[in-house]
């Protein structure tokens, strides 16, 4: 399992607001290698935007484009079925965790602003999947 960061940007705008509205948007797609279906990837684009809660001015933004590469065991999962899709889901959860670590690490460099953290979104996602 390998995470590749293709693009990352974190812009902070002044001044510090009294309140902030943070929007998180995650777009992801699933891909299988054209030559070997057991080699797979998730492609992800993450955008986080902060707005001043009072006047709507942009406070900061974070953008990331990343890919997760992994390979499933052909013997265990010979067909694309529900079990295999669940296996892919597990990889995706792990991918989101790794991405969140990166987001928190980068946005923690500022000791006044709190880091952007998508962990809660992942937890919520897991709970909807009954894990």
């Amino acid at each position: 399992m390998e995470v590749s960061i293709n693009k990352i940007a974190y812009n902070v705008f002044e001044p510090y607001p009294n309140g902030e509205t943070i929007s998180v948007s995650i777009n992801a797609k699933f891909g299988a290698s054209k030559e070997d279906y057991s080699i797979r990837a998730f492609f992800l684009e993450l955008n986080i935007d902060g707005e001043d809660a009072e006047n709507g001015d942009e406070t900061r933004n974070f953008a990331l484009v990343a890919r997760l590469n992994y390979q499933i065991d052909k013997n265990l999962f010979p067909n694309i079925d529900e079990n295999e899709m669940a296996e892919d889901g597990g990889y995706f959860h792990e991918f989101l965790k790794r991405i969140n670590e990166i987001v928190v690490n980068i946005t923690s460099q500022d000791d006044i602003r709190r880091p952007l953290d998508i962990d809660q979104a992942i937890e919520n996602h897991k709970s909807t999947k009954g894990e």
């Binding site: 590749s4 293709n6 693009k7 940007a9 812009n11 510090y16 607001p17 009294n18 309140g19 902030e20 509205t21 943070i22 929007s23 998180v24 948007s25 995650i26 777009n27 992801a28 797609k29 699933f30 891909g31 299988a32 290698s33 054209k34 030559e35 279906y37 990837a41 998730f42 492609f43 992800l44 684009e45 955008n47 935007d49 809660a53 942009e58 933004n61 953008a63 484009v65 890919r67 694309i80 529900e82 899709m85 669940a86 892919d88 889901g89 923690s108 500022d110 000791d111 006044i112 602003r113 709190r114 880091p115 953290d117 998508i118 809660q120 979104a121 919520n124 996602h125 909807t128 999947k129």
Partner: protein, 206 residues
């Protein structure tokens, strides 16, 4: 981030190209102002062209900035042909599904279809205008193409599902900024989840 939000970022950051690039929006044409952009959402590519960017006098006597952008579906191969000067800018802007989106003052008008080419034909470059040596352009177009192609390479060797596999939107309102070690105080929290099994149809194509 959906396409509309990315277009809104163009409205708000016409003079801040570095910020625009953060949003996977690359400027292609900049004469006296940024005019044309390539935007992508993962492996989906779009061209955007500034139809108007001016200050207008409103009926009530106030002045307001008016920005309007044309958005067209495209592909990496079309972008390559365009930037290598093999096709007119006009053709590139009219060969896919066309939308327009605008902003007057602080009000953003949502994306709507362009029903006929006549709506926009006088607002885009004339026939024969291409990315060639005669076109004045502040953008290093070779470098732009190289970067776009380089970013697109990560998708090359994969068959990628057509639909977005996961789209999640969370809005968190933070009342007061505190030290980073404090947890978020979430007042509003909304997540649109997905179901892997819904994507099985897409998976079957592999």
């Amino acid at each position: 981030m959906n396409l509309e939000k990315k277009i809104e970022n163009i409205f708000g950051n016409m003079s801040n190209l570095e910020t625009l690039n953060s949003y996977n929006c690359r400027t292609l044409l900049d004469i006296s102002e940024p005019l044309m952009f390539a935007i992508n959402e993962l492996n989906k590519y779009y061209l955007a062209y500034t139809l108007q960017n001016r200050t207008a006098l409103l009926k009530n006597g106030n002045k307001a900035d008016v920005v309007e952008v044309l958005i067209v579906n495209t592909s990496i191969s079309e972008i390559k042909r365009l930037l290598e000067g093999q096709m007119d800018i006009r053709d590139a802007l009219s060969c896919g599904d066309m939308y327009r989106m605008g902003k007057v003052g602080n009000k953003v008008f949502p994306r709507k279809n362009v029903k006929s080419f006549e709506e926009i034909e006088n607002k885009i470059p004339k026939i024969g205008v291409r990315f060639d040596r005669e076109l004045p352009n502040k953008v290093n177009i070779r470098k732009a193409l190289r970067l776009i192609e380089s970013e697109a390479k990560i998708y090359d060797s994969f068959a990628i599902s057509e639909s977005t596999f996961k789209e999640e939107f969370i809005q968190i309102k933070v009342k007061k900024l505190k030290k980073f070690e404090n947890l978020f105080n979430m007042e509003n929290y909304f997540v649109k989840t997905f179901d892997f099994r819904n994507e099985e149809k897409d998976g079957s194509q592999y």
